[in-house]
């Protein structure tokens, strides 16, 4: 990890929950981006993690904006910096609710317009900030406060939606692999125009597992193939090393689902559907990687 800078942009005084993997993720995102960066944050856990005015736990400017507005706000900011002749990085750091649900219109608009910014969706697969209500990213079978018997529909494929905008760079990442996050963010910021990184961020209180297991949970997601790490650079897809290894010898999905309270009592039919989707996704990505090699 020698290449990762020691400088901290996320101070130790955040109000994040114990074991919060999205704040861990943000730590590496900011290390990769450096000081000449503005974060645009819609309503989400990160808007709370900063602390209460006049204090801030962030060592970069953070512009908090209304839930649906982050990407559009970033468009204005990016154009203004351009007009001022500044190269400042504009990074939207939004949860899955602000990305897959309420914010999808403004994200799509900003992608289509070619806004020069990086959009990061940290995905804890529910509305974590308000106590774990379902989102478009909640997987089939997961219990949330608004799907008390388990979600009956599947997770929205935001990566396919993002890919349909023909971005020059997009990637997936996971909080359990900080070096991978660091490299992908650093690379994304070298591109002009819109880029997208979708980061799985396990959430101890929401997923109902002990706080100290947060890294292990992310690794289980990748090792089971439930979450695949890859990057797509100018239409060339590369599956990242941890997922390559997982694809050769995946662990059973049950090892990922089992330790999580949110999947307690999930019916076998839902597990079968999840397994089928997982297999389809891996097959699809492997085929794309081979075709674009």
């Amino acid at each position: 990890m020698a290449e990762i800078p020691k400088e901290e942009y996320l101070k130790k005084c955040t109000s994040a929950c114990a074991g919060c993997s999205s704040s861990l993720t943000l730590r590496y995102v900011l290390k990769a981006a450096g000081h000449d960066t503005v974060l645009v944050v819609p309503a989400c856990c990160t808007s709370v993690i900063q602390g209460i005015y006049p204090n801030t736990a962030m060592n970069v400017p953070v512009y908090n904006v209304a839930f649906a507005a982050a990407a559009a706000c970033a468009s204005g900011m990016s154009e203004a910096f351009r007009s001022l002749g500044r190269k400042t990085n504009v990074i939207v750091y939004a949860g899955d609710g602000g990305t897959l649900d309420i914010g999808i219109q403004s994200m799509s608009g900003a992608f289509e317009r070619g806004t020069d910014f990086l959009y990061i969706c940290y995905d804890n697969e529910a509305y974590g900030n308000t106590g774990m209500q379902r989102s478009g990213a909640t997987p089939l079978g997961a219990r949330t406060t608004t799907t008390p018997t388990g979600k009956t529909v599947e997770k929205k494929d935001i990566d396919a939606i993002a890919a349909a905008h023909h971005l020059s760079y997009m990637a997936t990442a996971c909080s359990a692999y900080p070096q991978d996050i660091y490299k992908k963010v650093a690379k994304a910021l070298t591109f002009r125009g819109p880029t997208f990184i979708h980061i799985l961020a396990p959430c101890p209180p929401g997923w109902r597992y002990p706080a100290e297991k947060t890294i292990e949970m992310g690794k289980l997601a990748v090792k089971s193939g439930m979450w695949v790490l890859y990057e797509r650079e100018n239409n060339k897809l590369t599956i990242s090393a941890p997922s390559k290894a997982a694809m050769r010898k995946p662990i059973p999905l049950e090892e990922y689902l089992g330790p999580q309270g949110r999947f307690k009592g999930i019916d076998p039919k839902s597990i079968e559907i999840l397994k089928q989707r997982l297999a389809d996704n891996l097959k699809h990505l492997a085929a794309e990687e081979e075709a674009s090699a």
């Binding site: 209460i52 908090n64 507005a69 559009a72 900011m77 203004a80 007009s83 219109q105």
Partner: protein, 370 residues
């Protein structure tokens, strides 16, 4: 330079001369001509701004907010449903103390689908912290837009300004327009809280009750302070360019027994009605409210007051009438007229004055006294 222009074109020309860095807007009838004209100015290189063709009005205001917080000059334009779709973000703009200038082409709200003039759209924004001004001619639309940037960006104000013009009646009508060379009339923008990566700060995050109260009070104080800034700006405009405006345009009010009050084009139309009434020996005068926020101080002591509202608050009444009753401690004859572009002639207006019944509300067209 003298020419003929529509209200929409006049706004676009003023925006071009104000040199905003970023314009973000979404087209909507009857505002469309404003953004089309600006897009043409930018594309043809006549205007150096960055024009962001957003996917919605919510995003238009969000983009202006993102641009404005970097410390640059911003503009947008909308109308009716577009304004309401922005509503969340109009609150955000004022709360974040961002001097965004917006033209709102006043139009009614559906259903039914009606594209003609009404002020209910802007009146639904009255509690957001935006300054609001209503114009009545093409020239005034142009002049006021130039002044709006200077007022919004003044460090004693730092609040967004909405320039309102009646849909079609003014947005699409052609009138003479005398454009000016603004020179240094609008000083360079200096936003004290602009984002600075060398001095990181959090903006718009969690705020406890005490600080929130203070922020709200600061907005109210700036609304009050804006009166002086507006007066100084209008005085300097008159000195430089020879056209004089004020919070209220009074017409034959000196010895009047009855005062007629309206906004926008109806307020201008009222002057013809006043001349008719004067010929009949009725001592009438008119006050056209230009600024609605800050609300002007009016002396109506001992007068009969007739107020025409091109808006309505259901279950409450004409919004302007009620503001006047509350702030001037008087009773009025409240006329609801012109909704959805309903035609109201100067003869109709004169008739409202002749047949006034102070203390009642009258729905013109339905001819119902309430």
């Amino acid at each position: 330079m003298k020419e003929i222009a529509t209200g929409n074109k006049a706004i676009a020309k003023a925006v071009k001369q104000a040199l905003p860095d970023v314009v973000a807007a979404y087209p909507i009838t009857p505002q469309t001509e404003i953004v089309e004209t600006i897009a043409d100015f930018v594309t043809s290189g006549q205007m150096k701004s960055r024009y962001i063709p957003v996917e919605s009005e919510h995003s238009a205001m969000a983009a202006c907010i993102g641009a404005s917080i970097t410390g640059v000059r911003t503009f947008t334009a909308t109308s009716a449903h577009g304004l309401l779709y922005m509503h969340e973000m109009t609150n955000w703009a004022a709360g974040a103390r961002l001097p965004i200038v917006m033209a709102n082409v006043n139009r009614s709200l559906g259903p039914g689908w009606n594209i003609w003039a009404e002020h209910t759209d802007a009146m639904q924004e009255r509690d957001t912290g935006w300054l609001q001004v209503y114009v009545s001619t093409v020239q005034e639309a142009y002049d006021t837009t130039l002044m709006a940037f200077r007022i919004a960006e003044h460090n004693d104000v730092l609040l967004p300004v909405m320039v309102n013009l009646d849909g079609f009646v003014l947005s699409h009508i052609m009138q003479p327009l005398d454009t000016v060379e603004p020179g240094n009339f609008i000083p360079p923008i200096h936003l004290p809280h602009a984002i600075d990566v060398k001095n990181p700060a959090g903006y718009g995050g969690l705020t406890g009750p005490d600080q929130h109260f203070k922020f709200r009070w600061d907005i109210e104080r700036s609304i009050r302070d804006s009166e002086k800034v507006i007066a100084a700006t209008e005085a300097d405009f008159a000195k430089r360019f020879g056209r004089k405006y004020g919070p209220v345009e009074e017409y034959r009010c000196e010895d009047a027994d009855v005062i007629l009050i309206a906004l926008g084009t109806l307020g201008k139309e009222a002057e013809v009605a006043i001349d008719i009434l004067r010929k009949e020996g009725i001592k009438a005068g008119s006050m056209r409210l230009r600024w609605f926020r800050p609300f002007p101080k009016l002396d109506l002591t001992g007068k009969d007051v007739v107020v025409i509202d091109r808006d309505y608050s259901f279950g409450y009444g004409g919004i302007v009438a009620h503001e006047i009753m509350a702030k001037c401690h008087c009773d009025v004859f409240s006329v609801i007229a012109g909704l959805g572009g309903q035609e109201v002639t100067y003869d109709d207006i004169a008739e409202f004055v002749r047949k006034r019944r102070i203390g009642t509300e009258f729905w013109f067209g339905v001819n119902a006294h309430v």
